[in-house]
Symmetry: C2
Subunit: 135 residues, 2 copies
DNA sequence: TTGCGTGCAAAGGTTTTGCATGGCA
DNA sequence: TGCCATGCAAAACCTTTGCACGCAA
């Protein structure tokens, strides 16, 4: 079992995540935000911490068609995120956690008709959220 | 109206697409395949043609969590792909075109409960296909 | 002949990696 | 003190872009 240290850079990164829960951000977003706040931390530190947080299940990593950097998304209730689907607004990046019930019937049909097993944690429904549609 | 030429490099790329319909590939896959077949064409030619085919609606571009290059997917029946959802096997990359009926009820619920409008063309359900589950 | 497509080279951006140093436990 | 995490620098990728040339129409 590997020991884990609490360090200032890592804490700053985790603080950023909590302030940006349920929204999309990139490694560069974190870098810019933290470094403009006075501290100076390196790109590699960001990447190494994000990778570790993903492995620990604290963070979700995904890629978006028109953004050439990887996107990350953090949730307070991350523990159950692999069990339900998510919908992401393609305009603002906001992530909605969907109840399982809504999709149960559809996923059963997809299973029986196509023999396809859905991975809820990795599937992200893309569309437009309430607020962005009104704009 | 811009004229369009038929060239040898472009034909080679389109031939590759047709041979790899409903599967995932990257720009590098195409480059390697064509260049190992004797011909020599440049990266930029690949990228420019893929971009053009995407604009023309012949090709779908997307990004996958664990692949750091953009992925592309070609279908013979591409014309209707923006109207229905797709499911993609995360292991082999195979794409299945889903009937709309299956998901209509679920998307109506998502619309009414969350105010979220699904974009069928951009949404890709992730999971495991028949063949890969048996392995 | 016209002008689109290609090849070449260079550049920009993200992400990874090796290594020495610094700091937490 | 021991060992993990960080910073730094370099490198590996993918992708885009400018420019001159070749080739399809």
């Amino acid at each position: 079992m590997k020991a884990e240290y609490k360090t200032k850079p890592r804490n700053a990164i985790i603080e950023y995540l909590k302030e940006h829960a349920d929204t999309r951000f990139t490694a560069r977003d974190i870098l810019n935000a933290i470094n403009s706040g006075g501290e100076e931390l390196d790109r590699s530190t960001i990447y190494r911490n994000l990778e570790r947080l993903c492995k620990e299940g604290e963070l979700v990593k995904y890629k978006e068609r028109d953004i050439n950097a990887a996107c990350y998304q953090y949730s307070e209730n991350h523990g159950s995120c692999h069990k339900h689907m998510h919908a992401r607004c393609m305009q603002c990046g906001k992530v909605i956690h969907l109840e399982n019930e809504i999709l149960r019937e559809a996923s059963q049909k997809i299973q029986s008709e196509y023999g396809f097993d859905i991975d809820y944690g990795k599937t992200v429904i893309v569309g437009t959220c309430n607020k962005c549609r009104e704009k």
